[in-house]
């Protein structure tokens, strides 16, 4: 699957700040072959980039600027709270998330970009910094394998911390069910965007959570706490759907406002298709309207 995905590179929709040359746009003008713009000479500019031909024609000094390409820092943020341990008809949500994170890390490192992993919540929260080293991939994969779901979601706190911690522009991919307070969540997503990070949000949901079809009374045991609730699902289904749809709509709307790449994924979807769509659409967006 990853081999097929590699045909489509993982690109960012925003210029990245990298330490080495790469395939991603940089906010800085550099010496690549891709022309960017002309601007008037100011004292102190490098005379090597003065366009003499324009000077000859117009008797003015113009600096010829080119796009600078740099590498990508991809920070994968994986929610390992207990709610990620939900298993619907087929797939466990955390397993799905792990495979998604592993695939993205592989793609990034394979194309020479740096990949890091933040595991939020879980039995042992950890943070693996973004590195380009191919050996780093194995570290990420081992960490993913060891990640166990546990505890309440502290996603918003960690995302705020990350927003501050990641100094350079990076691609931040958050994989979670986002079952937390919507206002706080939107706040931290906004924070990330404010730091000029390219933000991709994968919300993993089970069809069961979206359809809420139960023929008989059910005792719902909270995955993140000791509470349980016995109810007749048919009686509250309408209200439940209203609540969850309202939440999803607000999240989607918020991401749209902050130009975050929001992707709602159901666990019965094919992971390859999900990632393929993700990569393709990002590439398309890049070619049509580079930011």
């Amino acid at each position: 699957m990853v081999g097929r995905l590699m045909r489509q590179p993982l690109v960012t929709r925003l210029p990245m700040e990298g330490s080495v040359s790469g395939m991603h746009k940089s906010p800085h003008r550099g010496s690549s072959v891709e022309f960017a713009e002309y601007r008037e000479y100011v004292p102190g500019d490098d005379l090597r980039r003065l366009d003499w031909r324009v000077f000859a024609r117009s008797d003015r000094f113009y600096m010829k600027e080119f796009e600078a390409d740099t590498n990508l820092r991809c920070h994968l943020v994986l929610d390992c709270s207990a709610s990620m341990n939900f298993t619907g008809e087929n797939t466990n949500r955390l397993d799905f998330a792990k495979r998604m994170a592993a695939s993205l890390a592989y793609l990034a490192i394979q194309q020479g970009d740096a990949a890091g992993l933040n595991c939020i919540g879980g039995a042992k929260p950890f943070e693996i910094p973004a590195r380009r080293n191919p050996a780093h991939l194995q570290i990420i994969l081992d960490a993913l394998e060891a990640a166990k779901p546990k505890g309440e979601t502290k996603l918003t706190d960690i995302l705020h911390e990350l927003a501050e911690k990641i100094r350079r522009r990076a691609l931040v991919v958050v994989i979670s069910d986002f079952f937390c307070d919507i206002d706080e969540l939107l706040s931290c997503l906004q924070h990330l965007r404010f730091q000029k990070h390219d933000l991709a949000v994968f919300q993993l949901l089970d069809p069961m959570e979206l359809e809420f079809q139960f023929p008989r009374p059910v005792r719902f045991d909270d995955l993140e706490g000791p509470d349980s609730l016995v109810t007749e699902p048919a009686m509250i289904r309408d209200r439940y759907l209203e609540e969850i749809n309202g939440f999803l709509d607000r999240l989607q709307q918020g991401c749209h406002e902050f130009a975050a790449d929001y992707r709602r994924v159901t666990l019965d979807q094919d992971l390859e298709k999900v990632l393929s769509d993700f990569l393709t659409e990002r590439a398309k967006a890049m070619s049509v309207s580079p930011v």
């Binding site: 939900f86 959570e209 005792r219 909270d222 609730l229 509250i236 439940y240 209203e242």
Partner: protein
């Protein structure tokens, strides 16, 4: 509210079934680990009150539906306006139709018979209920409930045509009651059409009390309406056979026929032409009727070689055409015999010789049996029992009664000793002895009919010459046939079934009276023997409607008429193989004593009984069956429940559909 099937109410606890199922369902919940608890809690919080109300409503409607189902099966009845509004028509209308011969009388000035008038009015009244009520006909001849298609069909039914069977109103109402019970009918009405003839209604019959009690005990309301035709009738005369005997006199076989002719008007002396038909040969004879009734005797010769045949006597057409003919069949010479139950040989000797039989030209004294032997002795071929013993009790009394009911005669004489027993209302009293040189003499006796009537030649029995030294008083009897000078009864009679019981207060021995001279005793007993001969004809001379079950099953063809007749409901002469029988209307039908409407309605006690002419009131229709209401309520509850559990029809896609879109 009352119920037609209250035992179904035992199923009322079933109304808790929906609640129990609900609770069991709640207990059977499945555990489910859930992540999206925040939405679940919010949904549960916001929809709790609404969902609970909805849930309680669903439970309520389910419970009410089960309750309505139980009530529906229990068939509730409601009174007052509800009952009237919801059950305007009775579930069943049972038409009890008296089509006995007396109903063929025409009212004064009218051209239609009472039966025809009754049918017309019943049809008219039933027409408004034809669609909504079951119409059941119960008539007197067959007495079998018959469902009829509609009011218009009533007059065309063969079972509403004239019949020669008597009506037994208590039995007909018992049939109606049984139909109501068997068919579990709802609110019903019983329409009785009758001329209130006393012999049909039997107002003193004990069955009335039990009938009223039975109808009162019915859970469903039953209302009675009486269509009475007891007004004056057109002048009418009827004829019925009293006695038939074949005797050979001077080697010429003859039929001694005795008919009773009655007429309704007590007018002047009238000569009535009577057509007598024997074996198809007819003759016209005239009888002079002076007064209301006449016992008309007629002797008719028959062919010497004839071993049996049939005949009839017919009056001219009058106000009632069904009682103008009496049919008879005859066999070989009639032979009568008697049995004397006595241990008093001195007196029994007189009885044995007085009631001797004649066989093969020789006189044979009647046989004598003791009281103990009377319980088992065979008196199948006898027509008279002379009883001079303690009054019969127990099974013996039942045997004697059966003997009389079949048409036999029973003559009771006193014992020399006191007897404290009683039989059929008779009981012996004190022994009285005449004072010295004095005797008890008979002053008056019935010479018109009975055992002391005049001879065929018109001669009086010499009863005035009878002298009694001793006599025993007695109580009981319906008619005093002879009385002493001091007014004490000498001879009394009671009719039971087709036969008679006689009680005579003295004995033929010399210590008691001169009865042993024979001038009175012999004709008295011989006439009783002959009268009792009816018993011997019980197999060939039947009352219409009294055919036994075995004979009912046989195929009978009419002999007296070329038209086919129904032996169960029509008088006539019928043949089945070699057997020939005569069927006549019951004698009781000629007794035109009628009751007044108030007396008839009083028989129904506290039951709802109204005369036809009385207007229907709301009260009449109270206690109607309201199963339709209950059924509608049940359906409404089920519909409401279904509406509540319907999924919301508003277009609300799931979140998953939103993703796909």
């Amino acid at each position: 509210m009352t119920f037609l099937q209250p035992e179904i109410l035992w199923a009322l606890p079933l109304v808790a079934l929906p609640v129990i199922i609900h609770l069991l369902n709640r207990l059977r919940h499945r555990p489910r680990a859930w992540a999206a608890m925040q939405f679940l809690r919010a949904a549960n919080r916001s929809s709790t009150s609404h969902a609970k109300i909805k849930q309680w409503l669903i439970l309520l409607f389910r419970t009410l539906a089960v309750l309505a189902l139980v009530l529906f099966v229990a068939r509730p009845l409601a009174g007052g306006w509800i009952g009237w509004a919801l059950s305007p028509a009775p579930d069943a209308i049972l038409i009890v139709l008296d089509r006995s011969p007396s109903m063929e009388s025409k009212t004064v000035g009218g051209s239609a018979t009472k039966r025809e008038l009754a049918l017309a009015r019943l049809s008219e009244a039933a027409r408004q209920f034809g669609e909504s009520s079951h119409l059941i006909l119960i008539e007197n001849a067959l007495r079998e409930p018959q469902q009829i298609a509609g009011a218009s069909a009533l007059a065309g039914l063969s079972t509403t045509r004239p019949s020669d069977a008597a009506a037994d109103l208590p039995a007909m109402l018992q049939t109606a009651f049984q139909w109501l019970v068997d068919n579990q009918a709802g609110a019903s009405e019983i329409w009785i059409a009758s001329d209130l003839q006393g012999s049909n209604w039997l107002p003193n019959d004990e069955r009335w009390q039990s009938l009223v009690a039975q109808f009162e005990a019915l859970p469903q309301p039953v209302r009675f309406r009486l269509l009475a035709f007891n007004e004056a009738e057109e002048a009418n005369a009827s004829i019925s056979l009293n006695e038939l005997a074949r005797q050979t006199r001077s080697n010429r076989p003859e039929l001694d026929l005795s008919f009773d002719i009655r007429r309704s008007d007590s007018g002047e002396e009238t000569v009535i032409p009577i057509a007598v038909n024997v074996d198809g040969g007819g003759s016209q004879v005239e009888a002079t009727l002076d007064g209301q009734s006449l016992r008309w005797r007629q002797r008719v010769g028959v062919a010497p070689e004839s071993r049996g045949g049939w005949g009839s006597a017919t009056l001219p057409d009058d106000g009632n055409s069904t009682d103008n003919t009496a049919y008879f069949v005859y066999g070989s010479d009639s032979e009568y015999s008697a049995v004397v139950v006595s241990s008093d040989d001195a007196n029994a000797r007189f009885f044995r010789f007085a009631a001797a039989s004649r066989k093969d030209g020789k006189f044979n004294p009647a046989r004598q049996v003791s009281q103990n032997e009377a319980a088992t002795t065979d008196w199948e071929t006898d027509s008279l029992i002379v009883w001079q013993a303690s009054l019969p009790k127990g099974e013996t009394a039942a045997r004697v009664r059966r003997f009389v009911e079949e048409g036999g005669s029973a003559f009771f004489f006193p014992l020399t000793a006191d007897d404290s027993g009683s039989f059929e209302g008779f009981s012996w009293g004190e022994l009285e002895a005449a004072e010295d040189d004095e005797t008890f003499t008979i002053e008056s006796w019935d010479e018109s009919e009975g055992p002391l009537s005049k001879t065929e030649e018109g001669l009086r029995l010499p009863l005035n010459e009878l002298e009694a030294i001793k006599r025993r008083s007695f109580l009981g009897g319906e008619a005093v046939l002879a009385a002493y000078e001091d007014g004490r009864t000498f001879l009394s009679r009671k009719t039971i079934g087709r036969g008679q019981i006689y009680f005579c207060g003295t004995l033929p021995s010399d210590e008691w009276s001169t009865l042993g001279d024979g001038f009175s005793l012999v004709p008295m007993l011989r006439r009783a023997m002959r009268e009792g001969g009816r018993r011997l004809n019980r197999e060939t001379m039947l009352e219409c409607g009294r055919l036994n079950a075995v004979d009912r099953a046989k195929a009978w063809t009419s002999v007296d008429s070329p038209e086919p007749k129904n032996i169960l409901s029509q008088a006539g002469v019928y043949r089945n193989g070699d057997r020939i029988i005569a069927v006549n209307r019951p004698e009781s039908e000629d007794d035109r004593t009628v009751m007044d409407a108030d007396s008839a309605t009083a028989l129904f006690g506290d039951l709802s009984m109204k005369l036809w002419e009385e207007a229907r009131s709301r009260e009449d229709r109270s206690q109607g069956e309201i199963w339709r209401l209950v059924l509608s309520a049940m359906l409404a509850f089920l519909l409401l429940e279904a509406f509540l559990i319907l999924p919301d029809s508003r277009p609300r896609g799931t979140a998953k559909e939103a993703i796909k879109s």
